[in-house]
Point group: D2
Chain length 336, copies 4
């Protein structure tokens, strides 16, 4: 039984993580942390866990966490996460970091997009990006895994096979993403107030979203050629789900059938990617760790669409998938 701790347990990703781990036969949640000083029962912070998990959220130091847990899921904000990771790894703990702190390889790039200096830049270049469909082997042997962002997961899974197959040009990729509101976190903010975002759709962070360099980096690695995407996220009045509609230029002779074939072959043995000729809907992946993908050819453009649940495959489901890989469990444990 692996003892697991969750740092920063008051948010939506942490809640989803607890729900998944409560079903995991090989994991036991032993510590939950918060930066607030008064310890609260988890059922007060997350009423849906009432009667399911008898733990308190406590203000614990990394050292205290290390005593109670073998593996740590880090749901802290960026910046705070790196500080904790740097204390946990030397104590021999495995860490799955759901923050953005170790996703980018380059400290300068991190500072440019996140506006703060990284406190642990040495680990950045070698930390594995926790997208099993691309980096499974490296994840299996990793002590630290950078869990991918939600938008990147939806877009990378849709585009990577076509890039690797040389079916689309690495340049000239547009990603138009639509996300449910839980992706913005649990903190109450004016623009996420129900009557503000209900019955409305809008773009935000156009050309400035921090997931853009993350997508660039992974797709560049996959394509072995520089990729710089145009990424436009949109906020949609629903709780969860991301749909990414990606536009790319074909390199040549590919048609809709052959593009679909490339996707199907790439994901033939993947337990959580479903390629189909049908157009995906976020409802069909809601609450699951699946990513549904299809592709269309329109007037010389390739349109490839990926759908995920932002809190599961886009966050906590992927984290459990990584946990399974890192500890030798069947990859689908607790996820089906």
């Amino acid at each position: 039984m692996i003892r697991v701790a969750i740092l920063g347990a008051s948010g939506y990703s942490a809640l989803e993580l607890m729900k998944l781990l409560l079903r995991h036969p090989g994991a036991e949640i032993t510590a939950l942390t918060t930066r607030q000083t008064d310890a609260k029962p988890v059922s007060e912070v997350h009423p849906s866990l009432s009667g399911r998990l008898d733990l308190r959220l406590e203000n614990l130091s990394p050292g205290q966490v290390a005593e109670r847990a073998d593996c740590v899921f880090c749901c802290l904000p960026h910046g705070a996460s790196a500080a904790a990771v740097a204390e946990l790894l030397p104590r021999g703990k495995k860490v799955i970091d759901l923050s953005a702190d170790y996703r980018l390889n380059d400290a300068a790039e991190y500072e440019k997009w996140y506006g703060v200096k990284h406190s642990d830049p040495e680990r950045m270049p070698t930390t594995v990006y926790g997208l099993p469909e691309i980096y499974r082997e490296r994840i299996q042997s990793a002590s630290l895994v950078a869990n991918p962002g939600c938008y990147p997961t939806s877009a990378i899974l849709a585009l990577a096979p076509l890039l690797r197959a040389g079916a689309i040009l690495p340049s000239d990729i547009i990603i138009d993403s639509k996300s449910g509101v839980s992706g913005a976190g649990r903190e109450a903010k004016s623009h996420l107030h129900f009557p503000e975002c209900n019955e409305s759709v809008s773009a935000y962070g156009v050309g400035k979203h921090r997931h853009m360099p993350e997508i660039d980096q992974v797709l560049t690695d996959v394509a072995d050629a520089e990729v710089r995407v145009v990424f436009t996220p949109h906020l949609i009045p629903m709780d969860r789900g991301i749909l990414s509609t990606c536009y790319a230029a074909p390199t040549g002779e590919f048609n809709e059938g052959s593009l679909l074939g490339v996707l199907k072959e790439f994901y033939a043995n993947e337990p959580f990617v479903r390629v189909s000729s049908a157009l995906p809907a976020t409802k069909h992946v809601s609450g699951t760790n699946f990513c549904d993908i299809t592709v269309r050819s329109v007037r010389g453009r390739v349109v490839v669409i990926g759908a995920i649940d932002n809190l599961v495959k886009g966050a906590s489901g992927a984290a459990v998938q990584n946990f399974n890989l890192m500890h030798g469990f069947d990859e689908t444990t607790a996820l089906l």
Copy 2:
């Protein structure tokens, strides 16, 4: 042309009020206030008014407001409102107060429910309650009108005719109300964060909501007998609308047809109350000043249901209706 000011112009009621007043041929908005120190264009606070109203929200004193306006709509929080009203009335201004400050007649009752001492208790007993369907004549000659709460409007309009006709007992009235989220105001709060209240329904403030004594007071006046209701508000995942399902005990011989007849007769000449045998839906009154009402008889209980738009008939529409009555305009001006 009546020059009007709106105090506390950053909220939802104020926005709705501006939209209505922009259609009013006899009113001109001349001042908007905020308690924030830096003046902001209204289009920045309410982007939907961009290009429609070229005013700034300013931190104005009541004296400054009095110089610019003949009539003042007060959308301040309770407490703050009474302070402003007490300065405006002596300057000869007419005031329509959308706060709760002058709804209750009794200062002790106010203090009990609102937790603060009233700063202008002398005016409380004589201020007219601005529900035209009940107090039209008094409104016409008033300088100060207390605009009704949203829940009270939906429940009082449904129950008043039956009480006045002696068709239901004044005791033993239950009001189960369902409201859209805009009724809770524009301030971002945890429980109104989109992913918290979307896809969920819950009761709140059971037996403790401040609209309960307001309903008691008006229905007691209408029935000429003490009414003390059981009132349960619920939060519903939608922007606007209130449906109040009211349960009462019949006094005797009334059946569904005769109860409907009582309602139809009471509202025969009312421009904004529609009595029908059909069950109302908030969608059918959304964006309008209408209140839709029907009645059913179930196993010896009277079930009377009222539906309104909480921001229009439940707030700003009623305020404009009162404005029309106070200034001799046709009562429906700007409201159809």
Copy 3:
């Protein structure tokens, strides 16, 4: 391994049932039926099951189903269900009927509310009502279980302990329920068209809903005194969840604390009922088999509130709970 069939597998209850059963270590889904003539893959009817269940929906006779399955979940419409049950039981099959066909004990009452003659009236009086919290022992030894309606589950679980303890009067009970739209089934209808029911709340079937006599019957049995409730269902713009706000008259000396004590004691050992002093929200039980309950005392009235997920505890979760009881599995298997 128990082989299970699902009759009428195209609806929402059937989908939820399949998702739960796919997690059940002791059950294997072996047959899915439809009344349509062409067999379709389940992933075409329910895209969310793509890659998870490789079966077709087939137009099978009860005899064919009996060959493939040991236990049958019946999700057929009322009327059709009784016909199938009558053929399956003599073949030694266990049946969990999610339709309304065996919920009422009395054939005349059934005909009055459902408008059709019951084809299997002999079994009606003795069929056990599948609410484990009330009838656990009888369910364990039953071959046929009538799975409760969604509204009744939410209301009965809230009221039963107070009735049995003599804390509230059996007469004078009002149940005001709010339901998400999935409760109305999967068939496209005008009033369930998205732009019709989104952003709207309305009552329907006031005093005429078929779940009213079902609630009466069970509460009468629990109270050992005639109960005839006033029941008002409302449609709320959300996918799933029911909140039932129940109003009753106390018999005497009970206060809020003692009422809560009655509820807590009654459900002390129940795995799926959570009694709390906090007001429940349907979001906190969404996707779970839990029922959250609290109670308030308001001006001499008892207000007891129950929240469930209509598709889980209100339908398929309860069905799996019954399945577990009937087959000797731990009652919570596949449900946590």
Copy 4:
């Protein structure tokens, strides 16, 4: 007073049209038609109009309509519309056609996209496309106006100024649109059933939507060069609103500021187009005839975004705007 008739008065566009026309001082609604045989009061078909419009929906011939009305709004399905128009124009009536029948200039193109032969091909090439911001002068003198589609309005208004100014290339335009569900009409369909499209987002009709050739045609005319767009519509869980995010390649030296300047200059005197540096949200144009537009420059791509209410500026508001132009009313009458 212009007497107006509405053909096909049971849908959402017709309802919106009636609400607007009821505020119009120069228009009187005199006839409403339906293809159903039994005449129904409009308040039965549209309960929100109860007490506001005392007319019946009748199965009238074009000849009967011509007797009662001077101007006809045609809300019939494509195909049916052309048949009615061909009978109304010779009788000297003015017609605003909200169907797609006269939007395309070319009968072969129409047949290709709509799958039926056009019954009135002669009028197609000369019918004016009713987008006042582009074709105001021609509309003023027209007897027949083809009211634009909702998606085209949002995309054309965003792109036209940049194309006309030569700021973007006519080739290589991608339009990613998100629409509320009312755009799909009032007929209950499986994929528009509340629990199917609520809490979900999906693309549909990728590369096959009938609004694609309509956008091509108008933008080609505006650019005076062939435009063939890639158009992807998406369904969003909300009642109304369209946001179109358009991606284009700049022709050269333009930056974000100069692109915004082009838009502001083009729409300097337009009453219903608001150009701003802020990102638009459909909520801010909901229920209005406004189109909000902004532009961004991202990594060498121009991203221009337009937001409208699909039922107002995207349908009935534009129709009233055209009505005003055709009859010499102030263009904003009944629209502010």
